[in-house]
Every structure is written in structure tokens, then in C-alpha cells.
């Protein structure tokens, strides 16, 4: 128990509640418990470790894996068996019968706990299944308790017919100090990680293992990351990645481990830029494990590599966009499609014709109206356009004159195939309708390669 509190810090209250409710082995279990709390607040961890500590017979059902009632029932029954055997169980009645049979033959009144992890998935099944599990104790003759673990709150499970009320526990999210404490426990693995990737002599190793250094890093780290993210898993991952970068200059003897200001100046731009990578996990394979061979041959090229990689990652949309290597005209077609999607047809004339001085006044009126309503075209999503309009815009933005060839039309089909624009692949000049489904960043990157300024032709940005 003590041990558990140390392993799972900042969850004293919840662990105590769980221990009290589940009690000692010979006590009566509650009928059902409902545990909610935001993501990565240790719900699964707490429930699983409490059950393991109490050594109760229990089955953990991950409702993502068990996506049909049949799989759930069979998981429960086979989980309660001692040895691996095939069980067949189609309906709730089979389950109840199976449970009662187990009670008679082996289990008696020993406590049994069923844990439904990610219980929000149960809502996809027949609503009665969850109602039945909420009062399972009443339906079969066992000392059984169902625990539902989910990130939703109870109100999100609206039972139309009402249900037996479970005992509810809430896992609130960790605040900055608690996150600090929990991630701080990870110091050893982080250092280990670091030592695997770099060769470090003993003196510096001693420096790196100092808790103050890690604490300092964590403070800097959380000051940047806490605001956009409170997800422990994500923070732990980002901390690990960035800690390596933090220690790099120390390993290379560029900054001494005690010079905190310099270290802060070193890490703060890195942290800021890696904020962009939050949740993306791009750098996983590359930066965490540089190949050891390269490491030894030229050590001083590594920082360079890092910079490059970082830049590359930061411009990921751009690189992604450029990786398509579309033909020249296809790029213009795509841009035309984007413009057709995000401009109203009424403005086409003004945007794409050379002389449009008269409309200035009207433009201002409309813009004033748009300001009030704030409903800019770019915010409302792409609109559908006809092939005629697409071609008209295409010729307007393309300076040179080319003929309408079947080759050009085939490129539209290619864009559809690549899922850059949505619509039918068959080209019918009169009825075909399309919609551009790439974002502004993407189109800006494409436009850059052909020296075209998209903003200039977007009504919203005028």
C-alpha cells in the first residue's frame, strides 16, 4: 500500500477511496463504481494496481478491443477461468448462467471485479448492456462489482430508462506541481535513455545525474508546455526528447552543468520550436536514436543535423506539399480550385479581371458587413464549384495561353485521385462539381513553388 502510494504519487485520495470501497477480501463489494476523469490522469493505472495489490479475481475489459457484446461476455467468462479454455457466450443470459455456474463450482463468494476500461465505447452497443452491468450483482448470485473507467462524465451516458446509480469517483487532472512530481520520478529512465544515445565520461555522467539539473530542466519545460497541454503522457514524451537536447551542450563541454542561465538560453528556443511538435511525434525515430556508427565518426556534425532535422520538421506541411511534385499545370489547377472554393463566385470578376475600379465602393460596403458578421469565406470551409468556373479561374491566373487538352482534364482526375480535390473522377464538362480539400498552408507551399501569391487573390485577405 505504502509502496503503491510512492509508485503512483498525487493520487492518495483516489487510491484510498478505491481501497476503502473494495475493502478486504471478505467484505461485500459495492454494486458498481463509475470512475471518470480527463485523459492520462492515471485512472487505468490506479484501478489496475489496486486490484493487483488486493489480489482479487478480476477481468479487465478494454471496450475498444471488445467491440461486440459477444466478445465482452466471452472475455469475462474466460478471464474468470483458471486455465485457458474456449467459452461460447452469445447473450447476457448465457453470461449470467455462466457466472452462476462458476459461483457454484469454484468461486463461491470470493470478490470478483470486472473493469470496463474506456467505457464510453459501451454506448455504441445496446444501451441495456450497460444497464445490466450496472446491476449485475442483482442478476447473479456473486459478490461482484463492475468498475467503469472513462474520460466522460456520468451525464454523458444518458440512460433513457434510468439505471441503477453507481458510486462515482472523479480523477481531477494534475496541476503544474503534481506534473512536476510525477515526471520527476522519470529521471532515471531519462538519464538511461540519454546514456544509451551518447557516450559520456564518468565525470559528466555524475553531473547529469544530479537531481537539481533535472529539476531545473523540468521547470523550464513546464513553463512552456503546461499552458497548451496537461496530458501527462504527451508531456512525459516531450520532456524526454527535450531533456536530451538540454544535456547536449553539457556532454560536449560547451556549457557547464551549473551555468543555469546559459542552459536556459540554450533550451528556451528549442522548447518553443518543439512546441509545434506536440502530439505529432515526428521526431521519435530520428532524433531519439541517432545511429551509433555516425555518432563516433563525426561528433560535431550532430548539432548541425539536429538543426536541420528540426527545421525540416517545422516545415512539415511545406515539405509534405512539395513532396507531391505535381506537374506545373496541375499546380495551377489546384490553386485555381482553392480560389474557387474560398471565393464567392460573385467576386470572381473583380478578382480576376484586370480593370475593376468601379467596384471599390461596393467592396468597402461588403467588407464592413463581413467584419460585423465575421463570417469569412475562409472560415466557413470550401464551397462547391463547377468545372467551368475552375477552368475560367485557371486561365485567368495562368499568364500564358494554352489550349484545353484532354491532358489538362486528366490532371484534374489526378488531383481527385490524390484526394486534393473532391469530386467525381469522370469528367463531364457540364455537370462536374468539385471542392478543394487542402488547407491554406498546403496551397501556400504549392503556390510558392510556382511563384504565385495566393493571398492576393483571396477575397478575405483584401
Amino acid at each position: 500500500m505504502e509502496q503503491l502510494q510512492n509508485k503512483v504519487p498525487c493520487r492518495e485520495e483516489q487510491l484510498n477511496d478505491l481501497f476503502n470501497l473494495l475493502g478486504d477480501g471478505d467484505e461485500c463489494l459495492p454494486c458498481s463504481i463509475f470512475i471518470s476523469g480527463s485523459m492520462a490522469t492515471g485512472k487505468t493505472l490506479c484501478v489496475n494496481s489496486v486490484l493487483r495489490c488486493l489480489n482479487y479475481k478480476h477481468v479487465i475489459i478494454d471496450c475498444i478491443e471488445c467491440y461486440t457484446p459477444k466478445i465482452i461476455f466471452e472475455t469475462i467468462l474466460s478471464g474468470l477461468e483458471d486455465e485457458e479454455i474456449e467459452v461460447k457466450c452469445e447473450t447476457l443470459m448465457d453470461l449470467v448462467n455462466g457466472l452462476n455456474r462458476l459461483q457454484e463450482t469454484r468461486l463461491g463468494y470470493d470478490p470478483i471485479v470486472l473493469v470496463f476500461d474506456r467505457a464510453e465505447r459501451l454506448r455504441n452497443l445496446d444501451a441495456n448492456i450497460m444497464s445490466a452491468f450496472l446491476k449485475l450483482r442483482e442478476l447473479c448470485n456473486l459478490n461482484i462489482c463492475c468498475i467503469f473507467v472513462t474520460h466522460l462524465i456520468y451525464e454523458n451516458f444518458n440512460f433513457r430508462r434510468g439505471a441503477r446509480e453507481p458510486i462515482k469517483l472523479y480523477f481531477s487532472n494534475y496541476n503544474k506541481e503534481e506534473l512536476f512530481r510525477i515526471i520527476f520520478l522519470q529521471q532515471k529512465p531519462f538519464i538511461h535513455h540519454l546514456l544509451v544515445s551518447y557516450e559520456v565520461d564518468n565525470e559528466i555522467k555524475g553531473e547529469l545525474e544530479k537531481p537539481e539539473l533535472f529539476a531545473n530542466f523540468l521547470n523550464a519545460f513546464l513553463s512552456v508546455f503546461y499552458r497548451p497541454c496537461r496530458d501527462l503522457i504527451e508531456l512525459q514524451h516531450m520532456a524526454c526528447v527535450n531533456f536530451i537536447k538540454y544535456c547536449e551542450p553539457i556532454i560536449k563541454n560547451e556549457i557547464s552543468a551549473t551555468d543555469l542561465t546559459k542552459l536556459w538560453r540554450h533550451i528556451s528556443p528549442i522548447l518553443k520550436s518543439s512546441l509545434e511538435l506536440l502530439y505529432l511525434r515526428i521526431s521519435d525515430a530520428k532524433s531519439v536514436k541517432p545511429s551509433p556508427g555516425k555518432e563516433n565518426s563525426d561528433t560535431d556534425s550532430t548539432p548541425h543535423n539536429f538543426e536541420n532535422m528540426l527545421k525540416e520538421e517545422l516545415t512539415s506541411t511545406k515539405t509534405f506539399a512539395q513532396s507531391f511534385e505535381l506537374p506545373y499545370y496541375a499546380k495551377f489547377l489546384l490553386i485555381a480550385a482553392y480560389l474557387a472554393s474560398y471565393n464567392s463566385p460573385m467576386e470572381d470578376k473583380r478578382l480576376f479581371m484586370k480593370n475593376h475600379g468601379k467596384q471599390r465602393k461596393r467592396l468597402q460596403q461588403i467588407k464592413a458587413k463581413a467584419k460585423i458578421s465575421e463570417k469569412l469565406n475562409t472560415q466557413l470551409g470550401p464551397k462547391v464549384f463547377t468545372l467551368h468556373r475552375l477552368l475560367a479561374i485557371f486561365y485567368a491566373i495562368l499568364e500564358e495561353k494554352i489550349g484545353l487538352t484532354s491532358n489538362l482534364l486528366a490532371q484534374i482526375a489526378t488531383l481527385v485521385e490524390l484526394k486534393l480535390i473532391a469530386g467525381s473522377k469522370e469528367i463531364d464538362l457540364d455537370t462536374a462539381k468539385y471542392k478543394c480539400i487542402v488547407g491554406y498552408d498546403f496551397i501556400a507551399a504549392v503556390a510558392q513553388t510556382v511563384g504565385f501569391n495566393v493571398r492576393k487573390y483571396l477575397y478575405d485577405f483584401m
Binding site: 500500500m1 476503502n20 470501497l21 475493502g23 478486504d24 471478505d26 467484505e27 461485500c28 463489494l29 459495492p30 454494486c31 471518470s36 480527463s38 485523459m39 447473450t91 447476457l92 443470459m93 449470467v96 444497464s131 445490466a132 442478476l139 459478490n143 462524465i153 456520468y154 454523458n156 430508462r161 434510468g162 441503477r164 446509480e165 453507481p166 458510486i167 462515482k168 472523479y170 481531477s172 487532472n173 512552456v224 503546461y226 499552458r227 497548451p228 497541454c229 496537461r230 512546441l275 506536440l278 465575421e374 463570417k375 469569412l376 472560415q379 466557413l380 470551409g381 470550401p382 464551397k383 462547391v384 469530386g423 467525381s424 462539381k433 468539385y434 471542392k435 480539400i437 488547407g439 498552408d441
Partner: protein
């Protein structure tokens, strides 16, 4: 707490009390209190069916947790003491949650009649034929009279659910009507309009006898007085039990009921049913003196004004006895050697938690500052546009407006914001708008699928909760709360 074996007598006693009370609160499903009239009514129906071979049908209606199932258990328990229930009658219990269609129901009926062997591989044309066969099997006694049958159908509304033919109900009610065999059919439900769900042919065969169980109807005086009595009654332990148990064991079942001499001292407190006690023999080790002390503690507790206030609060929130029991269970589970008595502050904390769980507010307070900012941006946006749904781009627009006007907020890249937005969606703080009849989508014909940035969402959380969350958010940057309160930026 992980099974340490100490011989500290206090610890042993506290553990036993904890165990006893937990059993009493959760496992005891047959001691019923209150509703004497309704209980008698059910008792009467069952008794007449079993003893005199009459046929009846009735519906018992009451809200969730009002003790319908408990009432039936207690009646069956009483009858089983008076007549030889297992030989003279068949009790068949079905539950609409489990027996979700007629085939499963029939299978269960067959099993409960122990006729699986008789049926074997036989195939029946219709449901009625099958049921008739089962009945004929039962009529094998010397006088060829069928045993009385008590059909108890829980979650009765599920049996007349749409998309389910009411063949089972029709056949059962038909038997009660035509007196083929003595049978009582009792439906149990929490839907007051359940009769409307019945098919005409079923309805016409139903006796229209209704038994209503309303939680508060038989309480006179202050509403929370009932909870106070329940508190005392549930938490007190029967003092005579230790003396009685060894003797009880030797006696026959019937005599335990009449052993009023032993119960006199503690008429108020119900003891656990024998069936449970016999399973937990160590409960005999409860110390008399300790019990007296405990009971005095509980009665004392019920006098305290603070406790009464708490109970009053609870009874304004709910009259569901089952929720009250959950509260008691949590309360009792907090007992330990270090805390051998019930703490009033615990009780009030648990009741507060039950009455106003505010999980929504807590959920909002679990968000990161960025996520909360998006919620605020969305709320403002929806206020401006009279609750029209918004998509990510619109929310982002409002948020960027705010963060640009505030130099102190660090800028966050767009993908991170999008991820935060998706996080809100996952937590169902914002909900996608399903209907596509909004003005934005009328022109969409080619692609019904919208890019995620343009999918429309509404806020699924009342604005009061947002205010509450913002007000009590720990370490919230001042500019955010300022922004929140000054509505439109």
C-alpha cells in the same frame, strides 16, 4: 490494509463492524420496510395463487431504487417460511434486460422449470405450443393438477418494447385469464405509462391491477425524518445477535421468525437474513460491549443538527433509497482503526458530492489553459451569433484575436490548437452538429464529408458551468478571466 494480521482487538472489532454494515447495506436484498399496504397486496396475490390455486395478473410500478425488487424478495421469503414454496409452486423470474427476446425467455423458463430434459431436441411450431408442452409436463402430479406458478417479470417495459412481438405476454396473460393452470403474473417496471405499450390482445387479458410504490408516500412529518430513521436503522447492529446465533442454528427455520423474545430489545434494528449470516460465521465474534458502544454512537449521530441538515439536503435532491445506500456505503467504508467512528464531516462531504457532483466543472478545470481558452472563444462566438454552431476556423479566429491583443500570451502553432480542439471533442465538451440543414451546407452536394476544420460544433456545456469553472480555476492567468468576463474582444 492489505490483509495485515494483527491481534489488536479494536482493529478486529472495527473490521467486523465494517464487514457487517457493508453486507447490510449492499447484500441484504430481502429486508423490506415501509409500504405495508402494497406489500400486503403482493403477499395476498402470491399467497392466494400458491395456496388456493387462483390466477392473477398485476403490475407493480415505482421509480428506480424504490425497493420493488426488495419487496418481492421479502414477500417470497415470508411465503417460503409459511408454505413449502419449492414443492408447491414454481417461481419463475425473468428480467427484460437479460431475456431480451422470446426465444431467450422461453429457454430460461424451461430451465427454471427444470424441464430441459423433457424438451430435449423437440421442435415446436409456435410459442404457444411450446408453452403448452411445458405446462403439460408440469401436470404430472397424482391429481393431474398443475403446480402454481409465480411469474415475475422485471423491467416489464422491455417485454413490450417496440420491435418485439408480445407473444410471451399474450400467452402468459391468456393462461391467467382462462385458468388453465394457477398462475400469477407480476410485471415490475418504472414506467408509469407501461399499459399503453401493450398490444390490444394483451391489454384485454390483463387484469389492470396496479400496485404503485412511491418512495415518500408513507412518511409523515419532515421528509428527512425518514432518512434519519433509515440511517439509525441501517447503521445500528442488532445487539442480541451474538446471543441468538448459537441457539438459532439449532432451531428450525420457522422458529427463528417467532423468536421475538430475542428481538424485543432491538425491534428497530433489522438483522441480516440468515442466508447471509450463515455464509459469514466470523460475524459471531462481534463483542457485545463494543456493539452497545457503536449503537450509542450511531443514535448520538442521528441527534446532531449537522447530520440532520445533511440528510435534509440529500432528500431535497433525491428520494431514491438506493442512492442513500450508496452514501452509507461510502461512509462505512471509511471506517478504520485510526478512525473507528463515523465522522460528520465525512457524511457531509459525501452528501455534497452526491447532491452536486459538478463533474462538468471539474472536467473543465482539468483542461489546459489553451483548451479552456478555446471553450471561452467558442462561448463568446456563440453568444454573438445567437447560439449558431461554429467550426474550428471560427473558434481559431476568435482565439487569435484574443491572443494577438495580449502580448503576454505565448503563441501556439496551429496544429497544437487543432489538437486541443479535437481533445475537447473527445471529452464531449463540444458536440458535432449532425443535421446538415444549416445555411452553410445547403450548397454542398458533391462531398457530404466535410474537412475537420470546417465541421460545425456546438458547446455541450451550460454556460453557468463555464463561469463556475473559470471562477475557481487554480492559477488561471488573469488575462483569461478578464477576457472571459469582458465578453467580446
Amino acid at each position: 490494509m492489505c490483509g495485515l494480521q494483527t491481534e489488536n482487538p479494536l482493529e478486529v472489532q472495527i473490521k467486523l463492524i465494517r464487514k457487517y454494515l457493508k453486507l447490510k447495506i449492499m447484500a441484504d436484498n430481502e429486508s423490506f420496510h415501509g409500504h405495508p399496504q402494497e406489500r400486503n397486496h403482493v403477499y395476498d396475490l402470491f399467497k392466494r395463487t400458491v395456496a388456493h390455486g387462483e390466477s392473477h395478473s398485476a403490475l407493480m410500478i415505482g421509480p428506480r431504487g424504490s425497493g420493488k425488487t426488495t419487496l418481492i424478495n421479502s414477500v417470497l421469503q415470508q411465503i417460503s417460511k409459511e408454505v413449502d414454496l419449492s414443492n408447491d409452486a414454481l417461481v419463475i423470474r425473468l428480467n427484460g434486460l437479460i431475456h431480451s427476446d422470446d426465444k431467450i425467455s422461453l429457454k430460461s423458463i424451461t430451465a427454471q422449470m427444470q424441464l430441459e430434459n423433457a424438451v430435449g431436441d423437440r421442435v415446436f411450431g409456435t410459442f404457444a405450443e411450446n408453452l403448452a408442452f411445458l405446462l403439460s409436463c408440469l401436470q404430472s402430479g397424482a391429481d393431474r393438477r398443475c403446480k402454481s406458478m409465480l411469474f415475475i417479470l422485471e423491467e416489464f417495459d422491455m417485454f413490450c418494447h417496440v420491435g418485439r412481438t408480445q407473444t410471451l405476454l399474450y400467452n402468459l396473460f391468456d393462461i391467467t385469464h382462462s385458468a388453465q393452470a394457477p398462475m400469477c403474473v407480476l410485471g415490475v417496471t418504472n414506467r408509469i405509462d407501461v399499459v399503453e405499450l401493450l398490444e390490444k390482445r394483451v391489454k384485454s387479458r390483463f387484469s389492470h391491477r396496479h400496485i404503485f410504490i412511491f418512495p415518500n408516500e408513507d412518511s409523515e412529518g419532515a421528509p428527512h425524518a425518514k432518512y434519519r430513521d433509515r440511517l439509525v436503522n441501517t447503521l445500528c447492529l442488532p445487539r442480541t445477535k451474538t446471543v441468538a446465533t448459537p441457539k438459532k442454528k439449532g432451531r428450525s427455520r420457522k422458529s427463528t421468525v417467532t423468536s421475538e423474545d430475542l428481538m424485543e430489545i432491538d425491534q428497530e434494528t433489522t438483522s441480516l437474513p440468515d442466508s447471509i449470516l450463515s455464509r459469514h460465521t466470523d460475524l459471531q465474534n462481534l463483542d457485545q460491549e463494543f456493539l452497545q458502544d457503536w449503537n450509542a454512537h450511531v443514535t448520538g449521530l442521528a441527534e446532531e443538527q449537522k447530520v440532520l441538515d445533511c440528510l435534509e439536503k440529500l432528500c431535497y435532491y433525491t428520494v431514491n433509497e438506493q442512492i442513500f445506500r450508496n452514501v452509507l456505503f461510502e461512509l462505512v467504508s471509511k471506517l478504520s482503526v485510526n478512525k473507528p467512528y463515523i465522522d460528520v464531516s465525512d457524511l457531509s462531504a459525501i452528501i455534497d458530492k452526491t447532491v452536486a457532483p459538478e463533474h462538468r466543472v471539474k472536467l473543465l478545470q482539468s483542461l489546459s489553459i489553451l483548451e479552456l481558452s478555446l471553450v471561452i472563444a467558442m462561448k463568446h462566438g456563440m453568444e454573438i451569433f445567437d447560439g449558431e454552431p461554429m467550426n474550428f476556423e471560427m473558434v481559431l479566429h476568435r482565439y487569435t484575436k484574443f491572443s494577438n491583443s495580449n502580448s503576454s500570451t505565448q503563441t501556439v502553432p496551429r496544429p497544437v490548437i487543432l489538437k486541443a480542439f479535437e481533445h475537447l471533442q473527445e471529452l464531449e465538451i463540444i458536440m458535432p452538429v449532425r443535421t446538415t440543414d444549416s445555411i452553410y451546407n445547403t450548397t454542398d452536394t458533391t462531398a457530404s464529408r466535410v474537412q475537420k476544420e470546417y465541421k460545425l460544433f456546438t458547446l455541450a456545456i451550460p454556460s453557468d458551468d463555464i463561469s463556475e469553472a473559470v471562477k475557481n480555476f487554480k492559477a488561471l492567468p488573469t488575462e483569461i478571466s478578464h477576457w472571459y468576463n469582458n465578453s467580446v474582444v
